[in-house]
């Protein structure tokens, strides 16, 4: 078994009486794609928000490479190498693609409290921003204003901004949400490309994408972990079929 990059121990998050995350203990391995599945309201996004520091857990611990990051805020989490993308497109709409990625790339500086030299002279930031745009296939759109791009391209930009921070671990919250089949094909290819070198934690509704990408799958129901295993185990699991896949087919029909 390879190195555990991220680990949660008995992680809980309550909103009033609602247990949005219920006693989740998971190990995420370096270099693998770990997908989290579950019906709507299963607490997947809450889990990502806990991991990325947007929310603080009610109890339990989160360990990144052995360090306790349970109480770390989002900016700290990003600085230590965990990047996240958002389910709802969360970009800087009035800015060009390059400017959007620039902000992510600039976090390679020790601090951006630098007041004198113009930022555009920073070569390393340029390199990172260009690299992120290139990975996401947006190089040709670098000067286009983000708000004027198609929805699919905005989703790609969302990922590019995260990649510009050059994270070690990527938290992707439904990167394919609301995309047409062609666009989602494109982004799936991108994710496959990323998966070759990076560690991904992926929340996604698109079954085909999940089964083609993931090394490990965790199924969540009502905030709790139902089952974790590889693709075949999950596909053949009776409990999972009852809880999730079954419903999904009924809904589809």
């Amino acid at each position: 078994m390879s190195e555990i990059i991220l680990k949660t121990e008995k992680l809980c998050k309550n909103f009033g009486g609602l247990k949005a995350t219920d006693n989740i203990s998971l190990d995420f391995e370096r270099g693998k794609v770990h997908a989290i599945l579950g019906p709507n309201g299963a607490g997947k996004t809450t889990l990502i928000n806990l991991l990325s520091g947007e929310l603080l857990p009610s109890s339990g611990r989160i360990l990144f490479k052995g360090y306790d990051i349970t109480d770390a805020r989002p900016e700290k989490i990003s600085r230590i190498g965990i990047g996240r993308s958002f389910q709802k497109t969360n970009i800087l709409p009035g800015f060009s693609c390059l400017q959007n990625c620039w902000i992510g790339a600039q976090s390679c500086l020790m601090t951006s409290m630098r007041f004198f030299r113009p930022a555009k002279h920073l070569r390393e930031v340029h390199r990172r921003a260009d690299h992120a745009l290139q990975l996401c296939g947006l190089s040709s759109k670098r000067n286009q204003i983000a708000a004027t791009m198609s929805y699919g391209e905005q989703r790609q930009l969302e990922i590019a901004m995260m990649l510009a921070t050059e994270p070690e671990l990527l938290l992707l919250d439904e990167p394919l949400a609301g995309m047409g089949s062609e666009e989602s094909q494109q982004v799936t290819e991108l994710l496959k490309e990323l998966a070759k070198e990076q560690t991904l934690i992926l929340i996604e509704h698109d079954m085909d994408a999940v089964f083609s990408l993931a090394d490990t799958i965790t199924v969540m129901v009502d905030g709790a972990e139902l089952e974790t295993g590889n693709v075949d185990q999950i596909r053949n699991s009776k409990a999972v079929q009852d809880a999730y896949l079954g419903h999904d087919e009924e809904d589809a029909a």
Binding site: R73, P74, S78, F86, L98, W102, S112, P118, A164
Partner: protein
Amino acid sequence: MHTVTRPIIIFLCICLVMLLLFPAVGSPFYTELVTRIMILSIFTISLDLLIGFTGLVSFGHAAFFGIGAYLLAILFNDVEHINYWWSLTLTLSMTGMAALVIGWLSIRTSGIYFIMLTLAFAQMCFYFFFESPHFGGDDGIFLMNKPEIMLGSRQLVDLENEHHYYYFVLAWLVGVYLFLSMILRAPFGHVLIAIKANEQRVRALGYSTPHYKLVSFVIAGTIAGLAGFLEAAHTSFVTPAYLGWHESGMAIMMVILGGMGTLFGPVIGTFIVVLLQDFLPGFTEHWKLIMGGIIIGVVLFLPNGVAGLIYSLTNRLSSKSKEAGREHV
């Protein structure tokens, strides 16, 4: 985000030349009025850093203008030879400290709560000076002597001389403009502008956004203090009205009218508002009605202020050269 294009630079240079030549043709009254407008412009430009670039609508910015003015008047009230550099350094560092304290408490909130909190702090400062007999109370306080700008033993600028003071203030205005342009082009400025657009996302990208907002608040407060210092040295007289919410509101209006997020827009806004206040009463008794109408008109028809109009005009003029090399970050 507005970038300063070449036509805008040409426009600004023309404005600068006009300002440089103005004392030669203008009457002493208007030379003094323009001096005052330029001092106010330094104040509104600093507010633009908050409203237009950081997304912090401060309704108490006049507090720092007033604190800067009062500090000079209080600390050097009966000093015979005020050393300019020493008094400036002391005033600005203390105004900066005040901005640090008020900012530290205020930036924890956002939106309407931030507006209310900054207003409350400014009113606190207002009533402190208004009700303190020691500092002149509601009558205000006089500064007996003007600061002397010495370089060695030679007097560099004579502040009693209206023309000297005019150019002195103009130099400060240009300096403040260039300083703010510089920090906005630097990495710090990029983060600020992004915070205005989407603070949550900027945090998620690894920036401790409260720190950046606080630094911006302190810079803006210190520059407002500079404007107050210049005003007090100009008129030798400070009243509590300098800190009132009315002043803060006027400053916001000037920034919006001129075009926020452009730096030069607030300067234009200040010129328009003060000159209208000067001209309109000559036409009619009900000049405030006309003034209000003009402001409503600008807000309705020029959503980006006068600067927005200038941008769209220059863009139309230079639409041919638009294609080539427009890569800016």
